[in-house]
Amino acid sequence: MSTDLTTGASTARVAFYNDPKIRSIFYQVVLCVFIAFLVYGAASNAIENLRRAHIASGFGFWNTTAGFDISQTLIPYNADVSTYGRAFWVGLLNTLLVAGLGIFFATIIGFVIGISRLSKNWLVAKVASGYVETLRNIPLLLQLLFWYNAVLKALPIVRESYRFPGGIYLNNRGLILPEPVLQPDFDWVTGAFIIGVVASVSFHFWARRRQMRTGQRAPVFWVSAGLIVGLPAIVAALLGVPVLFDYPEAGRFNIIGGVGVQPEFLALLFGLSIYTGAFIAEVVRAGILAVSRGQTEAAYSLGLRPGPTLRLIVVPQAMRVIIPPLTNQYLNLTKNSSLAVAIGYPDLVQVFTGTVLNQTGQAVEVVAITMAVYLTISLATSLAMNLYNRRMALVER
């Protein structure tokens, strides 16, 4: 009996429709045919419907003149001559701008609140956990609408603007800041900054190699700070500060000069940073709690003081736990920046899926392009994350 099973006679006794391999292939073919049928059906319906509605297809609209204005543009854009393609880049840059700044502020808020939740100070811990519990449980869209409609739009009109020292104005048209005007000599300062960055990176590698060889530590932080901040500052001082400020002046109906930050942008930045900050706080808290007490105690018993213990033992291990979910939060923030459409900040979705879609009617192409952009960002980030994880994963025996 047992010999039968081991000599491979089993294939002869099983009917072909019971063979797991053939079954598996059959099921997969059925699935593929089903999905191909769905795609074919959808595509043929789409062609039929578009033909009936007289909507053009293809990406020809990309080079057509857009003819609408965008309220915030980081690259030159003109409604009369710029194309839909140009509008796409304007929207994408606006998305990246708000996402980049949002990530910066959300990280600061998140780390401060996350560490505060673990504080021994009862009041601090309670306030921090109240912040997290409240803001995580209110939809981001509601928070954005609140900041925009109830806070920023309720600010006084131009004539009654709040004035802050340093020539800063705040009114219902946004925040008006002095605009730095760079003089030609400023190139020297930029040069000094680049040299500072390069020098501090090299110093970091040199210090690491020396520490590996001799065990001596070098003050990397202070030297880098000196090179990156100090060097350009000295050059600027020597050249007599080659920056002029264009201070805004309050006119009768308007504020003249300066650089304006739109309320839409401010509301989106506020909302995204505060909301994502609450999630990052939880990530940070979980990461710190994941480092077992034994690690801290072992460090103390080796004679390390609390500062170095935190810097050399706890933080590196916590970061290993924190970074993957933190990246996830950064991605969420970037995707959530698409809620800009609700308050009229001209991000990719508002400009492209909103205005361009309405003007051209080419829903399939426009939505596909928008999705492709977000998909590229997400997939690139998760690829980078996988590489990072492979490098950081604990090597076990």
Partner: protein, 388 residues
Amino acid sequence: MTIAEGDLAVTEIAFVRRAQIPPQPPPVAMTGALGWLRANLLSTPFNIVLTIIIALLLIWAIPELLKFLLIDAVWSGADRDACREIVQHRPIGACWPFVYERAAYFVYGSYPIPLRWRVNVFFAMLAIGVAWLLWLNAPRRDLGAIYFFVVLPIGSFILLHGFPAIGLPVVDTVLWGGVLVTIVLASVGIVVSLPVGIVLALGRRSPKPAVRLFSVIFIEFVRGVPLITVLFMASVMLPLFVPQQYEPDKLLRAMIGIALFASAYMAEVVRAGLQAIPRGQYEGAMAVGLRYPQMMRLIILPQALKITIPNIVNTYIGLFKDTSLVLIIGIFDFLHTIEVARIDPKWATPVTSTTGYAVAAVFYLIFCYGMSRYARAMEARLAASDKR
């Protein structure tokens, strides 16, 4: 003058304590309220500074909040004049009469007034279903699951949409609105996303390459794009993909978008649970001769879903908050009714927006916080059952 070792026996020592003296109470500053203050608020100079700053912040913020919500609030009135500083000549806080007057709109949207009892019955049916499933000691929870996942969806469709054959006139979905739409969207997402998510998660772990490929493409695609683009896709592209006569109505499109989105996230949550089940469970199930569906239904999924309950509830919280995004594609959910009501000229005052948003915030906060408390209680319960 020291006493040498041998001298102890000598009777010259006048007194030797034979019993322990009772311990003294700890210093006043270390116990009670004072000790608590010292340990928790004032332990280091840095902490003292922090405590003072936060206390000042709270002393400023809490009275402001109370003043807005209660003390300066307007409690009755017929229109905007009751809530205007220029008319009333006093500082004005929240404008509550606006909320009373619009409360029915916030709950039912434009659902025809004589038919609103149908919405109430739906809420009651839903509450029974939710309670049946969430209360772990409820009788016949298997029936509860059938009720929630089969009877309730069909029953509520007949009730809310109408079924002329049994005397319920049809109510077009463009009239639906407010809390009703928010709850309907969230329930559809909850009911659809769990089974679809389980299928996708199993597909992603399947040994069949084609099944795995399609599951991965769907999951990663949906998770890689913002919900708002999925909703745009559902609302502007979906009508193109079906023959014209079957064009789905707007609310249905939003439901499809939300259900697809939630399913992809649910799939990843379930996959994490499946991965946590040790190989021995799979091998044991195969060794006793179970087929794949039996193995999954009887051995793997019950364990995997049990440990994932907290994460499933967290996904539901996200889903509940995300339903507010349908505002952007023009569905009148709860947040949208607030948006509409707050710009109505009849109640347009400087405080109307803030009042409306405060009501919305409290609504979402109660639901989401409730769900997260449930998830946490569940987690504690599961942790307790693992302890021996």
